[in-house]
C-alpha cells in the first residue's frame, strides 16, 4: 500500500507539471482541448494525492513501522484517534496535508470556473497547479513521507505526549485550511495581473475564498491558543513564539485586505494596494510554513531542523519577484482614478485601519526576524520575547479598536461632522460612565481603563447602528422588532455579519485585557488535608492517586474547591502523565471555568509522603476569548451565507455577458 502512495505522489508531480504546461500553452494559443486536458489533470492530481494520503493513513493504522515517518510519530499503544492525527505530527505528513488541501481546493476552482471567469481561469489554475507542483516536489524528493528503513522495528517511537490532545485534530487542520485557502485569492490576483482584467471581477470572485481562508486562520489560531492554555500548562494562551507570530502575520494582512477590497468594489480605487496586500498575505503564509519547518528560529513548533529552508526561500523569492514584475508590467492599468467625496468617510477610516493592521504585521515580522538581523549586524544573539511584542503591538491594537468604534459612525462616501458627532455622543457617554464605574470599583491601571473604555465604546457604536436599522425597518414596514432585526441582518449579510465578527473580536480583546492585567498566581506545597487560599477560593488538598491507563502512567492530585462562604464548588484534579520513555511528564491542568474567571491548577511536584507542590492561577475572563471565538464563527457564517440578491445580480451579469457573446457571434 505504501508503494502505491509513493508511486501516486510521483505520478501526481508529473501530471501537475503536465497540467501547468497544457493550461499555459492552451491559454496562449487558444487551444481549448489542451486547456480541458489540463483541467482534467488537476482532478487527477487530486485523486492521486488522496490515494497517497489514504496510503499514509493505512500505514499508520496497520502499524507499518518500516515507514520511518510512521515509526517516528506513532506506536502500538497509541489510540486510533491520535494515530489518525499523527498524519500531520511531523514535517513530511504536514506537507502532504498542505498539498492535499490545495489539490482539493484546485478541484473546487476547476468546477467553479466551468462557466464563470473563463478569461481568468487558465491562469488561476496555472498558479494553483504550480504551487501544487512545488509541494509535490518536496514530498517526493526533499521530505518523503513513505521513506522506509531496512529493518522493521517492533514498535514505534510514539507521538510526542504534548500532541495527544484533541487540539491536535483541530489546530493544524484549521490553520492549514486558512494558510492554503489564501492560495486561491492570490491565484486570482496573479491571473488578473497576467490578463490585465484588473477590475473588481477577481475580487468579487474570491470574496468567499478570502473569507473562508480568513475564517480558518482565525479559528486555527484560537484553537492553538486554547490548546496551549489547556495542554502546555503555563496558564497562558499566547506565548509570542515565532510560529505563533508566523500565523498571526497573514491574519493581520488578510484582515486589512478584507477591508480594503470593499473600497475597490465600491469605488474602483486602490487596485495596486489590494494586489499588494493579497500577495503579501500569501507570501506570509509560505513564510509561516517555512518558519515552522526550517528550524531557522527556535520554536516549540519546530520538530527538528530540516533542509527545506533554501527551497522555501526560493519559492518566496519567485513569488515576490514574479508578483512585483507583474505589478510593474501592469502599472498603467493599476492606476485608478482616486477621488474621495470627503476626508470624513468610511473609506478613510478603512484606510487608517489598513495602516495600523499592516503596521502591526510589520512589528510582529520585525520582532520575529530581529534575532537574525541582530546576529548579522552585531554578531550578538538576542531574544525578542513576549514583553517586546506586548509593548509594541498593545498600543497598535488599542488604536485598531478605536477605529472599529469610529468606523460604523461614519457613512460611506461622505459624513457630515454634525452627524458623526451626534452618533458619537451616546456610545462615548456610556463608555465614559463605564470607565468611571470601573474606577470606582478599584480599577486603577490606565491601560486597562483605556482598553475597557474603548471596547465599551465599540460595543455601543455597533449596538446603536443595529438599533437604528431595526427602528427604521419597524417604522417603515410595521414589522415587530424581532422580525425587523432578522430582516435587517439577513438583508445585508456581509455588513451585519461583519459587525458580529467585530463583537467577537471585542470579546476576545476584553478577555485578553482582563487576563493579562489581573492574573494572580500562587505557588504552594501542601500535605494531605492542608489547604491554601487564593483570592476568595480555598483549595483543600486531599491526596495523590497513582494509576496506569492504556498507554500512560498518571499521577493525579485531588483538590476540593470552596468559595468565600465555605460552600464546596467543585473538585479539581491536576495531574501529570508519563508516557513511554518520557521522564519529564506532561502536565494535565485542571480548570474551573466561569464567565468571570478561571481557577487554573497545575501539579508541579510531589514526594513519597503525599506532599505535593502546586501552582494556582486565577485567570480573569479567559473564557471570553473562547466565547468571542464562537461569536466570530457565527459572524463569519452570516457574512459567508449565500445571498439570494447577490445570486440574482450575478445571474443578470451572466445573462448580459451571454447576450453580448451571442451578438458578437451573430455579427460575425
Amino acid at each position: 500500500m505504501t508503494q502505491i502512495g509513493e508511486i501516486a505522489l510521483v505520478i501526481a508531480l508529473l501530471i501537475a507539471v503536465y497540467s501547468g504546461i497544457a493550461i499555459f500553452i492552451g491559454a496562449r494559443r487558444g487551444k481549448a482541448e489542451l486547456m480541458t486536458s489540463g483541467r482534467w489533470g488537476i482532478l487527477v492530481v487530486c485523486g492521486l494525492v488522496t490515494i497517497a494520503s489514504a496510503a499514509l493513513w493505512y500505514a499508520f493504522l496497520t502499524r507499518d513501522f518500516q515507514v520511518s515517518y510512521v515509526y517516528q510519530y506513532s506506536s502500538r499503544g497509541l489510540s486510533t484517534f491520535y494515530t489518525i492525527s499523527a498524519f500531520w505530527a511531523g514535517q513530511s505528513g504536514s506537507l502532504l496535508l498542505w498539498v492535499w488541501t490545495l489539490a482539493i481546493f484546485g478541484v473546487v476552482v476547476v468546477f467553479q470556473t466551468r462557466k464563470r471567469n473563463t478569461d481568468l481561469a487558465p491562469y488561476v489554475l496555472l498558479v494553483i497547479v504550480a504551487v501544487e507542483a512545488f509541494f509535490l516536489w518536496i514530498v517526493n524528493f526533499a521530505s518523503p513521507p513513505f521513506a522506509r528503513s531496512v529493518a522493521i522495528p517492533p514498535d514505534g517511537n510514539g507521538l510526542n505526549p504534548m500532541l495527544t490532545n484533541s487540539g491536535m485534530f483541530y489546530h493544524p487542520t484549521t490553520l492549514y485550511l486558512g494558510y492554503v485557502g489564501f492560495t486561491v485569492p492570490f491565484a486570482f490576483c496573479i491571473a488578473a495581473l497576467i490578463t490585465g482584467k484588473l477590475g473588481d471581477q477577481w475580487i468579487k470572485s474570491t470574496r468567499r475564498w478570502t473569507l473562508f481562508a480568513w475564517f480558518f486562520l482565525s479559528v486555527g489560531n484560537l484553537v492553538g491558543a486554547w490548546w496551549a492554555y489547556n495542554e502546555l500548562g503555563w496558564g497562558g494562551y499566547w506565548g509570542w513564539d515565532p510560529v505563533e507570530s508566523a500565523s498571526f502575520m497573514p491574519w493581520l494582512v488578510g484582515t486589512a485586505y478584507l477591508h480594503s477590497v470593499m473600497i475597490q468594489q465600491r469605488r474602483g480605487m486602490l487596485k495596486i494596494w489590494n494586489v499588494g496586500l493579497i500577495v503579501t498575505t500569501f507570501v506570509l503564509t509560505i513564510f509561516g510554513t517555512f518558519l515552522t519547518r526550517s528550524g531557522v528560529l527556535s520554536s516549540v513548533h519546530s520538530f527538528g531542523e530540516s533542509n527545506l529552508g533554501p527551497m522555501f526561500v526560493g519559492l518566496m523569492m519567485v513569488i515576490i519577484i514574479g508578483s512585483l514584475g507583474l505589478i510593474w508590467y501592469r502599472a498603467p492599468q493599476l492606476k485608478s482614478e482616486n477621488e474621495l467625496d470627503s476626508l470624513l468617510s468610511r473609506e478613510s477610516s478603512f484606510l487608517f485601519n489598513n495602516v495600523i493592521l499592516v503596521g502591526a504585521a510589520f512589528a510582529v515580522f520585525l520582532g520575529t526576524v530581529f534575532p537574525l538581523i541582530s546576529e548579522a549586524v552585531r554578531g550578538v544573539k538576542i531574544t525578542v520575547g513576549p514583553p517586546y511584542f506586548q509593548s509594541v503591538t498593545g498600543p497598535l491594537f488599542l488604536g485598531l479598536i478605536t477605529l472599529m468604534g469610529i468606523c460604523p459612525l461614519i457613512g460611506w462616501r461622505r459624513a457630515s461632522r454634525d452627524n458623526v458627532l451626534r452618533n458619537f455622543l451616546y456610545p462615548f457617554a456610556i463608555a465614559i460612565t463605564g470607565v468611571a464605574a470601573l474606577f470606582l470599583f478599584g480599577v486603577r491601571e490606565p491601560a486597562v481603563l483605556l482598553g475597557l473604555g474603548l471596547t465599551t465604546f465599540v460595543v455601543f457604536t455597533i449596538l446603536l447602528e443595529i438599533a437604528r436599522g431595526v427602528l427604521a425597518r419597524h417604522r417603515t414596514s410595521g414589522r415587530n422588532y424581532l422580525s425587523a432585526f432578522g430582516s435587517l441582518v439577513w438583508g445585508n449579510k456581509p455588513r451585519y455579519g461583519g459587525y458580529v465578527v467585530h463583537l467577537g473580536i471585542i470579546m476576545i480583546a476584553i478577555g485578553v485585557i482582563a487576563s493579562q492585567a489581573y492574573q494572580v498566581e500562587k505557588e504552594v506545597t501542601l500535605s494531605a488535608g492542608e489547604s491554601a487560599q487564593i483570592e476568595d477560593f480555598t483549595l483543600v488538598y486531599q491526596g495523590l492517586d497513582y494509576f496506569p491507563t492504556v498507554n500512560r502512567e498518571v499521577i493525579s492530585a485531588t483538590l476540593d474547591v470552596y468559595d468565600g462562604n465555605q460552600k464546596k464548588l467543585t473538585v479539581l484534579t491536576p495531574a501529570k502523565t508519563f508516557q513511554g520513555k518520557d521522564e519529564n511528564g506532561v502536565s494535565e491542568v485542571s480548570v474551573r471555568t466561569t464567565l468571570t474567571g478561571d481557577l487554573y491548577t497545575i501539579l508541579t511536584g510531589w514526594d513519597d509522603k503525599q506532599q505535593a507542590s502546586f501552582k494556582f492561577i486565577i485567570n480573569p475572563m479567559v473564557s471570553w476569548i473562547w466565547l468571542g471565538g464562537l461569536v466570530l464563527i457565527i459572524g463569519t457564517t452570516i457574512a459567508f451565507w449565500p445571498d439570494a440578491r447577490e445570486a440574482k445580480r450575478d445571474a443578470i451579469i451572466q445573462a448580459e455577458a451571454r447576450v453580448a457573446v451571442r451578438e458578437v457571434v451573430y455579427e460575425a
Binding site: W234, N338, L340, F370, I373, I382, V392
Partner: protein, 163 residues
Amino acid sequence: MRLRGLTVLITGLLVLLAPAAPAYALSSKDIQKELMCQCGCTMIVDVCDCETANQIRTKITELMDQGQGKTQIVAYFVGQYGEKMLASPTKKGFNLVAWILPFAAVIVGATALFFILRAWALKGKRGAEEIIILLQPVSAQESEEYRGRLQEELKRYKEEGSA
C-alpha cells in the same frame, strides 16, 4: 484632525504602557518576567516549569537574599548566558531599531495617508462642485414656487392615474 488625534493617542498609550518605576518591593517574578528560559522552550522563566527554569529561579532568590537589585541580577544572568537571556531587546544602540521602527512606520504611514486622502478629497470636491451649485439652498420665495409646482404635478399625476 484625526491624524493629530491618532498621534496623540499613540503617544499617550506609549507613555501609559511604558513600565513605570516600581514603587513596590522587588519580587522574584518581576525578574523572571524579563528573562528567557534557556532550556530551548522559547518561554520566559516565569512560565516555564523545567529544571533549567527552576535553577534560574533558585539563583534569583539567592542573589536577592544577597541584597542585589534587579539591574544587578539581570546583569549577572546576561554575563552568564549572553544577551539572548533577556526576554526583550535592550533599549539602546542598534536594538532601538526594533523598538522605534514599528511606531515610526505607522506614524509615517498614517501621515502620508492623511495627505493622500486630503488630496483625493480635494479632487473629489472639485468634481462635485457643479452638483453642489445645484444643491445650493434656495430662497423662501423660490422654495414656495417649487412646492406649488410639485403639488400641481402630483395632482395632475393622480388625475391621469385615476382616468
